[in-house]
Amino acid sequence: MQKTILVVDDEPDIRQSVKMILEVNGYKVVTAVDGDDCLKKVHEVKPDLILLDIMMPGTPVDDIVKQITDIKIAFMSVVRISDARKRGLCTQGNIVDFFQKPFNVSDLIDRVELILDEEEQG
C-alpha cells in the first residue's frame, strides 16, 4: 500500500525538492507550509510520517508536536540535533529521527524507508 508522507517546511524550494525525491521513490506526498497548516492536513490525510521543520513562522513547533501523538515525526532542520535535544524537542515517543539540513538524498530515502518498514513490522 502506498505510504503517505506529510512534508512541513516554510521554504517552498525545500518542500518541492523533498516532495520530488519522495514521489520518485513511490510515496504519496502532501505538503504544509507551517505548523498550523500541518495540524489541519494531519486530520485530512492521516499521514504515515511527518517530516517537520523546526524553525517556522506561526505556532512554535514545540506546541504543534504536543498535539500529534499517534503519528511518527522526523525532524528536518538546519538546527543541530544537540540544540534540538537541549530544547527538549526529542523527548516525545513518536519522534523517530532527525535529518540535519542540508540532507543527503540517498540517506533521506534510506532512513525514511527504514522508518516506514518498521511500522509495517510493528
Binding site: E11, D13, I14, S17, V24, V78, D83, K101, P102, F103
Partner: protein
C-alpha cells in the same frame, strides 16, 4: 586589588605628610624664636637698672614655653593641612588603580575647591568616556558574533534545496546524463559542498566565540576513542596507501566530550594525510601526563617552515604550496581545533622541520572545564599583542630576540606563565641579569594586560623582596 602596593603608596604619601608637618614645626620654631628673641632683648633693655636673677629666669621660662607652644600648634596645623592635601590625592590614586583593573564605573567625589577638585572632575569625565568606549566595544564584539551566527544560518538554508536538487540530478532522477553533463555537475556539487563546509565552520566559530560551544561530558575510554578515530580515518589514508600507526598508553577513563576530542583528532589526521606523500606513515599517540592527556599526530610529509608554523592556527591561513588547491579545505579547521582545545584550557601546537614532516600535539585536562570561556578566533587582538611581544624580545635580547620569540610562538608558549618561565630560565642561566629579567617580565605583563608594575616605585619601598612577591602573586 593589590593591598601590598597600596602600602608603598601609603608610605610615600605619609612621607609627604611627615615632611610638611616637619616644615611647619621648623617654621613654628624659628619664627617665634626670632620674634621672641627681639622681644626679650627689648624687654631686657627696658629695665635700666638690670633684672634680678629671678625675674630673668621667669622671663626666659615664659619665652621658651611660648616658643614651644607656638611650634606645637604650627606642627598640628601643618599635619592637618598636609593631610587635607594628601587625602584627595590618595583617593585619586586608588581610583586610577581601580580603572586599571577595568572598573570604569568609578567616580570621585572630591570637594576641595582647588585644582585637585578640577583634576578629579577631569578624571571622572575620562572614566565616563572610557566606560562608554568599553560598552561600545563589547556591543560591537557581540554584534560580530551574532552576525556570524545569523548569516551562517541564513546561508545554510538555501544550501538545502540546492544540494538536494544537485544530488537528484546526479543520481539520475531526471534522466540519464551525458559525460559532459556529469563532469559539469560534479564541479557544481564539489563547490557546493565546499561552501557548505565553510558555513558549518563559521557556525562552529560563532559558537566558540560566543562560548556557546556545547560539550557533552561523559566518562570516556580515551585509548579506545583514539583507536576508533584512527580506524575511521583509515579509509581516507588508504587512498594514498598511508599507514596509520596508533600508539596509546594505558589511559584512565576520564570525563571529556568524546565527539570534540575525536573532531580535533580527525582534523589533525586529515591534515596529516593531506600533506603526506603516498606510501608513508602517520603516528598517532596519546599519553598520560600529570594533569592532562597529551595527544599527538606525526606525519612524514612536506613539513612546515617556521613562518608557516607560526601562522598555521590563524583562520583562513593556508600553506602556500604547489598542490595546495588539490588539498581543499576551508582554512578554518585548525583555528576551530584551537578554539575547541583552548575552551577546555588545553593547548595545541606544532613542531616541524621543512621536508621532515610535522608533529601536531594537543592537551586535554583530566578534569573537564564546565564553565566555557569565549575564545576569540576571528579578528583577535592576538596579532597586535604578538607583534608587540616580538618587538620587546628584540629590544631586550638583541638580534637573537626575534628568533627566540618565533621558537616560543611555534610551541604556542606565549601565555604569561610560559613567558615568565622562559625569562626565569634566562636569568637562572645568567644569560641576562636578574634586574633586566624583572624589567623584561614587567614589560611583557604590561603588553599582555596584566597589572602594571612600576619599577621605580620599588626603590622607594622599604620591602626588599617586594618585587618578587608582586610577581609571584599574579
Amino acid at each position: 586589588m593589590n593591598t601590598e602596593k597600596f602600602d608603598i603608596k601609603k608610605f610615600i604619601l605619609s612621607k609627604i605628610n611627615r615632611k610638611l608637618t616637619l616644615l611647619f614645626l621648623i617654621v613654628g620654631l624659628i619664627a617665634p624664636t626670632i620674634a621672641i628673641y627681639y622681644f626679650y632683648n627689648i624687654s631686657v633693655s627696658s629695665f635700666p637698672e638690670g633684672m634680678s636673677g629671678e625675674q630673668g629666669l621667669l622671663l626666659k621660662t615664659i619665652t621658651v614655653m611660648i616658643i614651644t607652644l607656638i611650634a606645637i600648634n604650627a606642627a598640628i596645623i601643618g599635619f592637618f593641612m598636609s593631610r587635607s592635601i594628601s587625602k584627595p590625592i590618595k583617593e585619586l590614586y586608588n581610583a586610577t588603580r581601580e580603572v586599571e583593573t577595568g572598573k570604569y564605573d568609578i567616580r570621585l567625589d572630591i570637594k576641595t575647591c582647588d585644582e585637585i577638585e578640577e583634576l578629579a572632575q577631569a578624571f571622572n569625565r575620562t572614566t565616563a568616556a572610557q566606560q562608554r568606549l568599553e560598552e561600545e566595544r563589547k556591543e560591537i564584539d557581540s554584534a560580530k558574533t551574532e552576525f556570524l551566527s545569523i548569516t551562517s544560518h541564513e546561508l545554510r538554508s538555501p544550501m538545502t534545496p540546492m544540494k538536494a536538487q544537485l544530488q537528484m540530478l546526479e543520481e539520475g532522477y531526471f534522466g540519464k546524463l551525458s559525460k559532459k553533463q556529469k563532469d559539469s555537475l560534479g564541479i557544481v556539487i564539489r563547490n557546493a559542498d565546499r561552501l557548505d563546509k565553510i558555513i558549518v565552520d563559521f557556525l562552529d566559530i560563532s559558537r566558540i566565540e560566543a562560548a556557546r560551544l556545547k560539550f557533552n561530558f561523559q566518562d570516556t575510554d580515551i585509548a579506545q576513542l583514539v583507536k576508533d578515530t584512527a580506524k575511521f580515518m583509515e579509509g581516507f589514508a588508504k587512498e594514498k596507501n598511508i599507514e596509520l600507526v596508533v600508539n596509546v598508553d594505558e589511559l584512565p577513563i576520564i570525563e571529556v566530550d568524546p565527539d570534540r576530542v575525536s573532531q580535533v583528532t580527525r582534523n589533525l589526521i586529515n591534515n596529516a594525510i593531506k600533506f603526506s606523500a603516498e606510501n608513508s606513515k602517520i603516528e598517532i599517540t596519546a599519553e598520560l601526563k600529570k594533569e592532562y592527556v597529551l595527544f599527538s599526530v606525526r606525519d612524514y610529509g612536506c613539513g612546515l617552515t617556521s613562518e608557516n608554523q607560526i601562522r598555521i592556527f590563524e583562520p583562513f591561513y593556508q600553506v602556500e604550496n604547489s598542490n595546495r588547491r588539490k588539498h581543499g579545505g576551508t582554512g578554518l579547521g585548525l583555528a576551530i581545533c584551537r578554539g575547541i582545545v583552548e575552551s577546555q584550557n588545553g593547548k595545541i601546537w606544532v613542531e616541524s622541520k621543512p621536508g621532515k614532516g610535522c608533529k601536531f600535539s594537543f592537551t586535554i585536562p583530566l578534569k573537564p572545564v564546565r564553565q566555557i570561556k569565549p575564545i576569540k578566533i576571528l579578528f583577535s587582538h592576538k596579532g597586535t599583542i604578538e607583534r608587540k611581544l616580538r618587538e620587546e624580545f628584540k629590544t631586550m635580547l638583541g638580534p637573537l630576540g626575534a628568533g627566540e620569540f618565533d621558537e616560543l610562538k611555534s610551541k604556542n608558549a606565549l601565555s604569561r606563565d610560559d613567558l615568565v618561565e622562559y625569562i626565569d630560565s634566562l636569568t637562572d642561566q645568567y644569560i641576562i641579569p636578574e634586574e633586566r629579567g624583572l624589567d623584561f617580565k614587567n614589560r611583557i605583563e604590561r603588553i599582555l594586560g596584566y597589572e602594571k608594575e612600576v619599577i621605580n616605585e620599588k626603590e622607594d619601598t622599604p620591602f626588599d623582596n617586594l618585587g618578587d612577591e608582586v610577581l609571584g602573586r599574579n
